[in-house]
Amino acid sequence: MTRWSTTASLARGLTVAGLGIGMALVLGRPAVVVLVAPIMVMAAAQLRAKPRTEPHVGVQTTYAVLHEGQGTTAPLRIAPPNDVEFVTRVCAQASYVALRPRSGCFGYLVDHPAPLQISPRRWGQRRIGEEKIGLFTPWAGYRWGPVALVGREVSVLPTAATFRSAAAAPNPIGLIGAHRSRRDGEGTEFSSIREFHAGDRMRRINWRTSLRTGVLHVVSTRSEEDTALLLLVDALADYGISGGIDGVESSLDVAVRAAGAIAEQYVRQGDRVSLRVVSPHGEYVGYGAGTRHLRRILSQLARVTPGVPHDVSVDQIDFRTTAGTMVVVLSPMLSDGMATSAVRLLRRGLPVIVVDTLPPDAAPTVSSETDPGIAELAWRMRILERRGVLAQLSAAGCPVVPWNGPRTLDEVVRRLARLAQLPRARAR
Protein backbone atom coordinates (compact mmCIF):
# COMPACT_ATOMS: atom_id res chain seq x y z
CA MET A 1 0.00 0.00 0.00
CA THR A 2 1.38 3.37 -0.99
CA ARG A 3 1.95 6.02 1.61
CA TRP A 4 2.27 8.87 -0.86
CA SER A 5 -0.60 11.32 -0.72
CA THR A 6 -1.28 14.70 -2.25
CA THR A 7 -0.46 17.70 -0.12
CA ALA A 8 -2.76 20.57 0.78
CA SER A 9 -0.55 22.73 -1.42
CA LEU A 10 -1.37 20.71 -4.55
CA ALA A 11 -5.06 20.51 -3.66
CA ARG A 12 -5.15 24.26 -3.03
CA GLY A 13 -3.30 25.04 -6.24
CA LEU A 14 -5.62 22.86 -8.34
CA THR A 15 -8.74 24.28 -6.67
CA VAL A 16 -7.75 27.92 -6.99
CA ALA A 17 -6.44 27.46 -10.53
CA GLY A 18 -9.44 25.36 -11.63
CA LEU A 19 -12.11 27.62 -10.14
CA GLY A 20 -10.25 30.76 -11.26
CA ILE A 21 -10.05 29.52 -14.83
CA GLY A 22 -13.69 28.42 -14.63
CA MET A 23 -14.80 31.87 -13.49
CA ALA A 24 -12.70 33.53 -16.19
CA LEU A 25 -14.25 31.23 -18.78
CA VAL A 26 -17.81 31.73 -17.67
CA LEU A 27 -17.60 35.47 -17.00
CA GLY A 28 -14.99 36.35 -19.63
CA ARG A 29 -12.42 37.84 -17.19
CA PRO A 30 -8.88 37.92 -18.65
CA ALA A 31 -7.46 39.47 -15.46
CA VAL A 32 -8.40 36.37 -13.47
CA VAL A 33 -6.40 34.19 -15.85
CA VAL A 34 -3.33 36.32 -15.17
CA LEU A 35 -4.10 36.24 -11.44
CA VAL A 36 -4.17 32.44 -11.13
CA ALA A 37 -1.69 31.60 -13.90
CA PRO A 38 1.39 31.32 -11.57
CA ILE A 39 -0.51 29.07 -9.19
CA MET A 40 -1.66 26.93 -12.09
CA VAL A 41 1.90 26.56 -13.37
CA MET A 42 3.07 25.61 -9.89
CA ALA A 43 0.31 22.98 -9.63
CA ALA A 44 1.40 21.57 -13.01
CA ALA A 45 5.00 21.36 -11.75
CA GLN A 46 3.78 19.56 -8.63
CA LEU A 47 1.85 17.05 -10.74
CA ARG A 48 4.87 16.57 -12.96
CA ALA A 49 6.93 15.49 -9.93
CA LYS A 50 4.55 12.67 -9.09
CA PRO A 51 6.47 9.90 -7.25
CA ARG A 52 7.17 6.61 -9.00
CA THR A 53 8.75 4.56 -6.24
CA GLU A 54 7.98 3.63 -2.68
CA PRO A 55 10.85 4.70 -0.42
CA HIS A 56 12.20 2.75 2.54
CA VAL A 57 13.57 4.72 5.45
CA GLY A 58 15.68 3.70 8.41
CA VAL A 59 17.58 5.43 11.16
CA GLN A 60 20.87 3.98 12.30
CA THR A 61 22.49 5.26 15.48
CA THR A 62 26.25 5.03 15.42
CA TYR A 63 26.77 3.52 18.89
CA ALA A 64 24.77 1.08 21.04
CA VAL A 65 26.65 1.94 24.22
CA LEU A 66 27.46 5.47 25.28
CA HIS A 67 28.79 7.23 28.33
CA GLU A 68 26.59 9.99 29.70
CA GLY A 69 27.50 13.28 28.08
CA GLN A 70 28.81 11.62 24.95
CA GLY A 71 27.03 12.22 21.68
CA THR A 72 26.10 10.29 18.60
CA THR A 73 24.41 11.01 15.33
CA ALA A 74 21.35 9.34 13.87
CA PRO A 75 21.55 9.60 10.08
CA LEU A 76 18.46 8.78 8.04
CA ARG A 77 18.79 6.41 5.11
CA ILE A 78 16.28 6.71 2.27
CA ALA A 79 16.21 4.15 -0.50
CA PRO A 80 15.64 5.04 -3.24
CA PRO A 81 15.85 8.80 -2.76
CA ASN A 82 14.92 9.62 -6.39
CA ASP A 83 11.46 11.03 -5.77
CA VAL A 84 12.34 12.80 -2.57
CA GLU A 85 13.36 16.44 -2.34
CA PHE A 86 12.67 17.37 1.28
CA VAL A 87 12.81 15.39 4.52
CA THR A 88 11.05 16.33 7.73
CA ARG A 89 12.10 14.64 10.98
CA VAL A 90 10.32 15.09 14.28
CA CYS A 91 12.07 13.30 17.12
CA ALA A 92 10.43 12.28 20.37
CA GLN A 93 11.68 14.08 23.44
CA ALA A 94 13.00 11.48 25.87
CA SER A 95 13.96 12.23 29.44
CA TYR A 96 17.66 12.94 29.91
CA VAL A 97 18.35 12.89 26.18
CA ALA A 98 19.53 16.13 24.59
CA LEU A 99 18.86 16.67 20.91
CA ARG A 100 20.35 19.05 18.40
CA PRO A 101 18.32 20.79 17.06
CA ARG A 102 16.89 21.20 20.54
CA SER A 103 13.23 20.95 19.48
CA GLY A 104 13.98 17.66 17.74
CA CYS A 105 12.10 19.00 14.75
CA PHE A 106 14.04 19.77 11.61
CA GLY A 107 13.97 19.42 7.87
CA TYR A 108 16.47 19.45 5.07
CA LEU A 109 16.85 19.01 1.37
CA VAL A 110 17.70 15.40 0.62
CA ASP A 111 20.86 16.40 -1.25
CA HIS A 112 22.07 18.39 1.80
CA PRO A 113 21.37 16.02 4.69
CA ALA A 114 21.59 17.39 8.22
CA PRO A 115 22.40 14.92 10.98
CA LEU A 116 20.39 14.59 14.14
CA GLN A 117 22.72 14.79 17.14
CA ILE A 118 21.78 12.88 20.26
CA SER A 119 23.47 13.07 23.64
CA PRO A 120 22.17 11.19 26.70
CA ARG A 121 22.65 13.32 29.80
CA ARG A 122 22.17 10.65 32.47
CA TRP A 123 23.22 7.03 32.95
CA GLY A 124 20.57 4.36 32.48
CA GLN A 125 18.69 2.69 29.68
CA ARG A 126 17.55 5.31 27.20
CA ARG A 127 15.45 4.90 24.10
CA ILE A 128 16.76 7.06 21.32
CA GLY A 129 15.82 7.44 17.68
CA GLU A 130 12.04 7.46 18.15
CA GLU A 131 10.79 9.82 15.51
CA LYS A 132 8.35 10.55 12.73
CA ILE A 133 9.52 10.96 9.18
CA GLY A 134 7.82 12.83 6.38
CA LEU A 135 9.11 12.95 2.80
CA PHE A 136 8.13 15.44 0.12
CA THR A 137 8.50 15.30 -3.64
CA PRO A 138 9.98 18.23 -5.58
CA TRP A 139 7.55 21.20 -5.51
CA ALA A 140 5.89 19.59 -2.47
CA GLY A 141 2.97 18.14 -4.36
CA TYR A 142 3.10 14.75 -2.66
CA ARG A 143 3.94 13.70 0.85
CA TRP A 144 5.02 10.30 2.17
CA GLY A 145 4.16 9.69 5.78
CA PRO A 146 4.51 10.81 8.48
CA VAL A 147 5.77 7.39 9.42
CA ALA A 148 6.70 6.56 13.00
CA LEU A 149 10.06 4.86 13.52
CA VAL A 150 10.73 2.87 16.65
CA GLY A 151 13.95 3.86 18.36
CA ARG A 152 16.48 1.59 19.97
CA GLU A 153 17.48 1.03 23.56
CA VAL A 154 20.91 2.37 24.35
CA SER A 155 22.90 1.64 27.48
CA VAL A 156 24.22 4.87 28.91
CA LEU A 157 27.14 4.16 31.19
CA PRO A 158 28.08 6.46 34.06
CA THR A 159 30.68 8.98 33.13
CA ALA A 160 34.26 7.72 33.08
CA ALA A 161 36.92 9.38 35.23
CA THR A 162 40.52 8.68 34.30
CA PHE A 163 42.46 8.74 37.55
CA ARG A 164 45.13 6.65 39.20
CA SER A 165 45.11 6.29 42.96
CA ALA A 166 48.30 6.66 44.95
CA ALA A 167 46.94 4.97 48.06
CA ALA A 168 47.68 1.33 48.80
CA ALA A 169 44.90 -1.01 49.82
CA PRO A 170 44.70 -1.86 53.54
CA ASN A 171 44.75 -5.68 53.32
CA PRO A 172 45.93 -6.86 49.92
CA ILE A 173 45.64 -10.64 49.80
CA GLY A 174 46.13 -11.80 46.28
CA LEU A 175 48.68 -13.13 43.87
CA ILE A 176 50.20 -10.19 42.12
CA GLY A 177 49.35 -6.56 42.03
CA ALA A 178 50.29 -3.02 42.87
CA HIS A 179 49.60 -2.87 46.60
CA ARG A 180 52.27 -3.25 49.25
CA SER A 181 51.57 -6.36 51.30
CA ARG A 182 52.29 -6.92 54.99
CA ARG A 183 54.20 -10.06 54.04
CA ASP A 184 57.80 -10.06 52.85
CA GLY A 185 58.37 -11.23 49.34
CA GLU A 186 59.54 -10.24 45.89
CA GLY A 187 58.82 -6.58 45.59
CA THR A 188 60.50 -3.20 45.40
CA GLU A 189 59.31 -1.65 48.68
CA PHE A 190 61.95 -1.86 51.43
CA SER A 191 60.95 -3.90 54.48
CA SER A 192 64.05 -4.64 56.59
CA ILE A 193 67.66 -5.88 56.62
CA ARG A 194 67.82 -9.35 58.13
CA GLU A 195 70.17 -12.31 58.33
CA PHE A 196 70.62 -14.49 55.27
CA HIS A 197 68.35 -17.55 55.04
CA ALA A 198 68.62 -20.44 52.68
CA GLY A 199 66.84 -19.56 49.45
CA ASP A 200 67.59 -15.83 49.56
CA ARG A 201 68.90 -14.41 46.33
CA MET A 202 72.54 -13.44 46.16
CA ARG A 203 71.75 -10.04 44.68
CA ARG A 204 69.79 -9.19 47.83
CA ILE A 205 72.89 -9.39 50.05
CA ASN A 206 73.68 -6.09 51.77
CA TRP A 207 77.47 -6.14 51.82
CA ARG A 208 77.95 -3.12 54.04
CA THR A 209 75.95 -4.62 56.90
CA SER A 210 77.39 -8.08 56.30
CA LEU A 211 80.99 -6.79 56.58
CA ARG A 212 80.20 -4.73 59.66
CA THR A 213 78.50 -7.57 61.51
CA GLY A 214 80.50 -10.47 60.07
CA VAL A 215 77.27 -12.30 59.20
CA LEU A 216 75.58 -12.30 55.83
CA HIS A 217 72.61 -9.93 55.72
CA VAL A 218 70.07 -9.41 52.99
CA VAL A 219 67.61 -6.63 52.16
CA SER A 220 64.07 -7.90 52.41
CA THR A 221 61.19 -6.29 50.56
CA ARG A 222 57.44 -6.45 50.87
CA SER A 223 55.57 -8.46 48.33
CA GLU A 224 53.15 -6.62 46.04
CA GLU A 225 49.68 -8.05 45.75
CA ASP A 226 46.34 -7.14 44.38
CA THR A 227 43.29 -6.52 46.48
CA ALA A 228 39.62 -7.37 46.28
CA LEU A 229 37.12 -4.54 46.35
CA LEU A 230 33.40 -4.86 46.87
CA LEU A 231 31.28 -1.93 45.78
CA LEU A 232 27.98 -1.94 47.60
CA VAL A 233 25.50 0.45 46.00
CA ASP A 234 22.38 1.44 47.89
CA ALA A 235 19.59 1.86 45.34
CA LEU A 236 16.71 1.49 47.79
CA ALA A 237 15.55 5.01 46.92
CA ASP A 238 16.65 8.01 44.92
CA TYR A 239 16.76 11.23 46.94
CA GLY A 240 16.99 14.63 45.29
CA ILE A 241 16.51 15.73 41.72
CA SER A 242 18.71 14.63 38.88
CA GLY A 243 19.59 17.31 36.37
CA GLY A 244 21.71 15.05 34.21
CA ILE A 245 25.45 15.24 33.84
CA ASP A 246 25.53 19.04 33.78
CA GLY A 247 22.96 19.64 36.50
CA VAL A 248 22.35 18.76 40.12
CA GLU A 249 22.85 15.18 41.24
CA SER A 250 20.44 12.91 43.06
CA SER A 251 21.68 10.39 45.63
CA LEU A 252 21.57 7.59 43.08
CA ASP A 253 23.48 9.72 40.56
CA VAL A 254 26.24 10.20 43.10
CA ALA A 255 26.25 6.49 44.03
CA VAL A 256 26.32 5.19 40.45
CA ARG A 257 28.92 7.68 39.21
CA ALA A 258 31.09 7.14 42.27
CA ALA A 259 30.84 3.34 41.90
CA GLY A 260 31.81 3.65 38.24
CA ALA A 261 34.78 5.88 39.02
CA ILE A 262 36.05 3.69 41.88
CA ALA A 263 35.62 0.53 39.81
CA GLU A 264 37.56 2.07 36.96
CA GLN A 265 40.28 3.28 39.30
CA TYR A 266 40.83 -0.14 40.91
CA VAL A 267 40.40 -2.23 37.78
CA ARG A 268 43.06 -0.15 36.05
CA GLN A 269 45.37 -0.91 38.99
CA GLY A 270 44.85 -4.61 38.37
CA ASP A 271 42.65 -5.24 41.39
CA ARG A 272 39.64 -7.53 41.53
CA VAL A 273 36.39 -5.58 41.81
CA SER A 274 32.90 -6.83 42.55
CA LEU A 275 29.62 -4.94 42.45
CA ARG A 276 26.46 -5.56 44.43
CA VAL A 277 23.47 -3.25 44.03
CA VAL A 278 20.77 -3.32 46.66
CA SER A 279 17.77 -2.82 44.43
CA PRO A 280 14.71 -4.77 43.20
CA HIS A 281 16.80 -6.54 40.54
CA GLY A 282 19.85 -6.99 42.77
CA GLU A 283 22.45 -6.34 40.08
CA TYR A 284 25.59 -8.32 40.83
CA VAL A 285 28.98 -8.69 39.19
CA GLY A 286 31.48 -11.12 40.68
CA TYR A 287 35.13 -10.44 41.37
CA GLY A 288 37.20 -9.86 38.32
CA ALA A 289 39.71 -7.62 36.67
CA GLY A 290 40.35 -6.21 33.25
CA THR A 291 38.66 -3.84 30.83
CA ARG A 292 35.92 -6.29 29.90
CA HIS A 293 35.07 -6.76 33.57
CA LEU A 294 34.94 -2.99 34.03
CA ARG A 295 32.53 -2.75 31.09
CA ARG A 296 30.36 -5.42 32.75
CA ILE A 297 30.26 -3.41 35.98
CA LEU A 298 29.39 -0.19 34.19
CA SER A 299 26.66 -1.97 32.19
CA GLN A 300 25.10 -3.27 35.39
CA LEU A 301 25.28 0.20 36.92
CA ALA A 302 23.44 1.54 33.88
CA ARG A 303 20.58 -0.90 34.62
CA VAL A 304 20.02 0.23 38.19
CA THR A 305 16.47 1.22 39.08
CA PRO A 306 15.66 2.37 42.60
CA GLY A 307 13.44 0.28 44.83
CA VAL A 308 13.33 -2.21 47.66
CA PRO A 309 14.34 -5.84 46.97
CA HIS A 310 11.22 -8.03 46.84
CA ASP A 311 12.67 -11.39 47.75
CA VAL A 312 15.11 -10.67 50.57
CA SER A 313 15.56 -8.32 53.50
CA VAL A 314 18.46 -5.91 53.09
CA ASP A 315 20.27 -6.96 56.26
CA GLN A 316 20.14 -10.61 55.18
CA ILE A 317 21.82 -10.20 51.82
CA ASP A 318 24.94 -12.30 51.34
CA PHE A 319 27.55 -9.96 49.92
CA ARG A 320 29.98 -12.80 49.07
CA THR A 321 33.03 -11.20 50.61
CA THR A 322 36.32 -12.97 51.20
CA ALA A 323 39.10 -12.22 53.70
CA GLY A 324 40.98 -9.04 52.87
CA THR A 325 38.20 -7.58 50.74
CA MET A 326 37.83 -3.87 51.02
CA VAL A 327 34.17 -2.82 51.05
CA VAL A 328 32.96 0.55 49.83
CA VAL A 329 29.35 1.23 50.70
CA LEU A 330 27.80 3.96 48.57
CA SER A 331 24.67 4.98 50.36
CA PRO A 332 22.70 7.96 51.65
CA MET A 333 22.37 5.89 54.85
CA LEU A 334 18.68 6.54 55.23
CA SER A 335 17.93 2.82 55.55
CA ASP A 336 18.56 0.91 58.76
CA GLY A 337 19.24 -2.19 56.70
CA MET A 338 22.24 -0.63 54.95
CA ALA A 339 23.73 0.58 58.23
CA THR A 340 23.25 -2.90 59.72
CA SER A 341 24.92 -4.48 56.69
CA ALA A 342 27.90 -2.12 56.97
CA VAL A 343 28.36 -2.98 60.63
CA ARG A 344 28.00 -6.71 59.87
CA LEU A 345 30.81 -6.49 57.32
CA LEU A 346 32.91 -4.43 59.71
CA ARG A 347 32.55 -7.05 62.42
CA ARG A 348 33.88 -9.67 60.05
CA GLY A 349 37.16 -7.73 60.13
CA LEU A 350 36.82 -6.21 56.70
CA PRO A 351 37.82 -2.62 56.03
CA VAL A 352 34.55 -0.81 55.27
CA ILE A 353 34.27 2.74 53.95
CA VAL A 354 30.93 4.47 53.65
CA VAL A 355 30.62 7.06 50.92
CA ASP A 356 27.77 9.38 51.83
CA THR A 357 25.77 9.98 48.65
CA LEU A 358 23.00 12.18 50.03
CA PRO A 359 23.07 15.58 48.26
CA PRO A 360 23.03 18.49 50.73
CA ASP A 361 19.78 19.92 49.38
CA ALA A 362 17.97 16.63 48.92
CA ALA A 363 14.32 16.43 49.89
CA PRO A 364 11.84 13.59 49.56
CA THR A 365 9.15 13.59 46.91
CA VAL A 366 5.90 14.36 48.69
CA SER A 367 2.50 13.41 47.31
CA SER A 368 -0.12 16.14 47.00
CA GLU A 369 -2.25 14.48 49.71
CA THR A 370 0.50 14.85 52.31
CA ASP A 371 0.73 18.01 54.40
CA PRO A 372 4.03 19.66 53.35
CA GLY A 373 4.62 20.81 56.94
CA ILE A 374 4.39 17.28 58.28
CA ALA A 375 6.57 15.97 55.44
CA GLU A 376 9.19 18.61 56.22
CA LEU A 377 9.15 17.69 59.91
CA ALA A 378 9.43 13.97 59.13
CA TRP A 379 12.35 14.61 56.81
CA ARG A 380 14.19 16.66 59.44
CA MET A 381 13.69 13.84 61.97
CA ARG A 382 14.99 11.33 59.45
CA ILE A 383 18.08 13.48 58.81
CA LEU A 384 18.72 13.68 62.57
CA GLU A 385 18.47 9.90 62.84
CA ARG A 386 20.85 9.57 59.91
CA ARG A 387 23.35 11.83 61.61
CA GLY A 388 23.26 9.51 64.62
CA VAL A 389 23.76 6.42 62.44
CA LEU A 390 26.75 8.00 60.67
CA ALA A 391 28.29 8.95 64.02
CA GLN A 392 27.86 5.38 65.29
CA LEU A 393 29.44 3.97 62.13
CA SER A 394 32.44 6.29 62.52
CA ALA A 395 32.80 5.30 66.15
CA ALA A 396 32.75 1.62 65.15
CA GLY A 397 35.75 2.21 62.86
CA CYS A 398 33.97 2.71 59.59
CA PRO A 399 35.03 5.98 57.96
CA VAL A 400 32.18 8.00 56.44
CA VAL A 401 33.13 10.40 53.66
CA PRO A 402 31.09 12.49 51.26
CA TRP A 403 31.83 11.88 47.59
CA ASN A 404 34.19 14.53 46.24
CA GLY A 405 35.40 12.97 43.04
CA PRO A 406 37.69 10.04 42.34
CA ARG A 407 40.29 11.06 44.95
CA THR A 408 37.73 10.87 47.76
CA LEU A 409 38.88 7.44 48.93
CA ASP A 410 42.61 8.14 48.75
CA GLU A 411 43.11 9.66 52.17
CA VAL A 412 40.75 7.20 53.86
CA VAL A 413 42.34 4.16 52.23
CA ARG A 414 45.82 5.44 53.11
CA ARG A 415 44.73 5.82 56.74
CA LEU A 416 43.24 2.31 56.79
CA ALA A 417 46.43 0.92 55.24
CA ARG A 418 48.54 2.61 57.94
CA LEU A 419 46.28 1.14 60.62
CA ALA A 420 46.56 -2.29 59.06
CA GLN A 421 50.39 -2.12 59.23
CA LEU A 422 50.36 -1.56 62.99
CA PRO A 423 50.91 -4.61 65.22
CA ARG A 424 47.73 -5.88 66.79
CA ALA A 425 47.32 -7.09 70.34
CA ARG A 426 44.78 -9.80 70.80
CA ALA A 427 43.11 -10.57 74.12
CA ARG A 428 43.31 -14.21 74.98
Partner: protein
Protein backbone atom coordinates in the same frame (compact mmCIF):
# COMPACT_ATOMS: atom_id res chain seq x y z
CA UNK B 1 -1.15 26.16 16.71
CA UNK B 2 1.40 28.97 16.94
CA UNK B 3 3.16 27.79 20.08
CA UNK B 4 6.82 27.13 19.44
CA UNK B 5 7.01 29.18 16.25
CA UNK B 6 10.53 30.22 15.32
CA UNK B 7 11.23 33.81 14.10
CA UNK B 8 11.50 32.50 10.54
CA UNK B 9 8.21 30.68 11.08
CA UNK B 10 6.58 33.97 12.09
CA UNK B 11 7.87 35.58 8.88
CA UNK B 12 6.31 32.76 6.84
CA UNK B 13 2.99 33.19 8.66
CA UNK B 14 3.13 36.94 8.08
CA UNK B 15 3.55 36.37 4.34
CA UNK B 16 0.59 33.95 4.37
CA UNK B 17 -1.60 36.47 6.19
CA UNK B 18 -0.57 39.49 4.13
CA UNK B 19 -0.76 37.85 0.68
CA UNK B 20 -4.57 37.79 0.13
CA UNK B 21 -5.29 41.32 1.54
CA UNK B 22 -2.43 42.74 -0.56
CA UNK B 23 -3.82 40.99 -3.64
CA UNK B 24 -7.21 42.50 -2.82
CA UNK B 25 -5.88 46.03 -2.28
CA UNK B 26 -3.44 45.94 -5.21
CA UNK B 27 -6.04 47.39 -7.58
CA UNK B 28 -7.07 50.19 -5.19
CA UNK B 29 -4.83 52.83 -6.87
CA UNK B 30 -6.65 52.09 -10.11
CA UNK B 31 -10.04 52.69 -8.49
CA UNK B 32 -11.04 49.14 -7.55
CA UNK B 33 -11.48 49.33 -3.77
CA UNK B 34 -12.98 46.41 -1.86
CA UNK B 35 -15.57 47.06 0.83
CA UNK B 36 -14.31 47.07 4.41
CA UNK B 37 -16.38 44.10 5.49
CA UNK B 38 -15.12 42.01 2.59
CA UNK B 39 -11.54 42.99 3.39
CA UNK B 40 -12.20 41.94 6.97
CA UNK B 41 -13.54 38.56 5.83
CA UNK B 42 -10.42 38.02 3.70
CA UNK B 43 -8.14 38.98 6.62
CA UNK B 44 -9.92 36.52 8.92
CA UNK B 45 -9.68 33.78 6.28
CA UNK B 46 -5.98 34.61 5.82
CA UNK B 47 -5.30 34.36 9.55
CA UNK B 48 -7.00 30.97 9.58
CA UNK B 49 -4.90 30.02 6.54
CA UNK B 50 -1.70 31.04 8.35
CA UNK B 51 -2.72 29.13 11.46
CA UNK B 52 -3.37 25.94 9.47
CA UNK B 53 -1.20 26.04 6.35
CA UNK B 54 -1.30 22.26 6.09
CA UNK B 55 -5.10 22.26 5.85
CA UNK B 56 -7.04 22.38 2.61
CA UNK B 57 -9.38 25.00 4.16
CA UNK B 58 -6.68 27.59 3.51
CA UNK B 59 -7.89 27.74 -0.09
CA UNK B 60 -10.83 29.91 1.05
CA UNK B 61 -8.70 33.05 1.46
CA UNK B 62 -7.26 32.70 -2.05
CA UNK B 63 -10.62 31.84 -3.58
CA UNK B 64 -12.27 34.90 -2.01
CA UNK B 65 -9.68 37.14 -3.66
CA UNK B 66 -10.04 35.41 -7.03
CA UNK B 67 -13.84 35.70 -6.81
CA UNK B 68 -13.59 39.39 -5.95
CA UNK B 69 -11.33 40.02 -8.95
CA UNK B 70 -13.74 38.12 -11.19
CA UNK B 71 -16.75 40.03 -9.85
CA UNK B 72 -15.40 43.57 -9.50
CA UNK B 73 -12.63 44.11 -12.04
CA UNK B 74 -14.74 43.06 -14.97
CA UNK B 75 -13.13 42.93 -18.39
CA UNK B 76 -10.41 45.41 -17.38
CA UNK B 77 -6.76 44.37 -17.24
CA UNK B 78 -5.01 46.63 -14.74
CA UNK B 79 -1.26 46.27 -14.20
CA UNK B 80 -2.08 45.67 -10.55
CA UNK B 81 -3.14 42.14 -11.46
CA UNK B 82 0.55 41.27 -11.77
CA UNK B 83 1.15 42.52 -8.21
CA UNK B 84 -1.94 40.66 -7.00
CA UNK B 85 -0.71 37.47 -8.67
CA UNK B 86 2.64 37.86 -6.89
CA UNK B 87 0.91 38.38 -3.55
CA UNK B 88 -1.33 35.34 -4.01
CA UNK B 89 1.60 33.20 -5.13
CA UNK B 90 3.72 34.38 -2.19
CA UNK B 91 0.97 33.41 0.23
CA UNK B 92 0.51 30.02 -1.47
CA UNK B 93 4.26 29.26 -1.51
CA UNK B 94 4.76 30.42 2.08
CA UNK B 95 1.96 28.06 3.14
CA UNK B 96 3.58 25.24 1.17
CA UNK B 97 6.91 25.77 2.96
CA UNK B 98 5.19 26.16 6.33
CA UNK B 99 3.34 22.88 5.77
CA UNK B 100 6.60 20.93 5.47
CA UNK B 101 6.34 20.05 9.14
CA UNK B 102 4.85 20.92 12.51
CA UNK B 103 4.87 24.44 13.90
CA UNK B 104 8.33 24.35 15.55
CA UNK B 105 9.99 23.35 12.26
CA UNK B 106 12.22 26.24 11.22
CA UNK B 107 12.34 26.80 7.44
CA UNK B 108 15.81 25.93 6.23
CA UNK B 109 17.77 28.63 4.41
CA UNK B 110 18.41 26.47 1.33
CA UNK B 111 14.73 25.57 1.08
CA UNK B 112 13.66 29.21 1.30
CA UNK B 113 16.18 30.16 -1.40
CA UNK B 114 15.03 27.33 -3.65
CA UNK B 115 11.39 28.30 -3.27
CA UNK B 116 12.32 31.93 -3.83
CA UNK B 117 13.87 31.05 -7.18
CA UNK B 118 10.92 28.85 -8.10
CA UNK B 119 8.37 31.52 -7.18
CA UNK B 120 10.19 34.13 -9.22
CA UNK B 121 10.28 31.80 -12.23
CA UNK B 122 6.62 30.85 -11.90
CA UNK B 123 5.47 34.42 -11.31
CA UNK B 124 7.05 35.48 -14.63
CA UNK B 125 4.04 33.83 -16.32
CA UNK B 126 1.80 36.62 -14.99
CA UNK B 127 3.63 39.62 -16.53
CA UNK B 128 4.10 37.65 -19.75
CA UNK B 129 0.36 36.99 -19.99
CA UNK B 130 -0.37 40.58 -19.09
CA UNK B 131 1.93 41.75 -21.90
CA UNK B 132 0.21 39.42 -24.36
CA UNK B 133 -3.22 40.71 -23.37
CA UNK B 134 -1.95 44.30 -23.37
CA UNK B 135 -0.61 43.81 -26.88
CA UNK B 136 -4.09 42.76 -27.96
CA UNK B 137 -5.70 45.81 -26.33
CA UNK B 138 -7.79 47.92 -28.70
CA UNK B 139 -8.52 45.03 -30.96
CA UNK B 140 -11.87 43.38 -30.88
CA UNK B 141 -11.43 40.21 -28.92
CA UNK B 142 -14.29 37.76 -29.19
CA UNK B 143 -15.26 35.79 -26.10
CA UNK B 144 -14.50 32.60 -27.98
CA UNK B 145 -10.84 33.75 -28.05
CA UNK B 146 -10.63 33.46 -24.28
CA UNK B 147 -12.70 30.32 -24.07
CA UNK B 148 -10.48 28.52 -26.56
CA UNK B 149 -7.24 29.75 -25.01
CA UNK B 150 -8.22 28.80 -21.50
CA UNK B 151 -9.65 25.47 -22.55
CA UNK B 152 -6.28 24.67 -24.12
CA UNK B 153 -4.56 25.64 -20.86
CA UNK B 154 -6.82 23.35 -18.86
CA UNK B 155 -6.30 20.46 -21.23
CA UNK B 156 -2.56 21.02 -20.97
CA UNK B 157 -2.72 20.89 -17.17
CA UNK B 158 -4.62 17.60 -17.30
CA UNK B 159 -2.21 16.22 -19.90
CA UNK B 160 0.75 16.97 -17.65
CA UNK B 161 -0.74 14.70 -15.05
CA UNK B 162 -1.57 12.01 -17.63
CA UNK B 163 1.82 12.04 -19.31
CA UNK B 164 3.59 11.19 -16.05
CA UNK B 165 1.86 8.08 -14.75
CA UNK B 166 3.42 6.28 -11.83
CA UNK B 167 3.85 2.66 -10.91
CA UNK B 168 1.99 3.46 -7.73
CA UNK B 169 -1.05 4.48 -9.74
CA UNK B 170 -0.93 1.21 -11.68
CA UNK B 171 -1.06 -0.71 -8.43
CA UNK B 172 -4.02 1.15 -7.00
Amino acid sequence: MIAGLTPAGWVLRAVIVLGPPVALLAAAPEGFVPSTWFLLVVVVASVAFAAMPEQYAGSLALLLVVAWWAAVIGAAMPLAVVVAAAALLASHVAATVAAYGPTPLPPERRVVLRWGRRSAAVWLVAPLLWLVVDAQRGRATPVSYWVAGLAVALVLAVLVAMVYPTRLDEGT
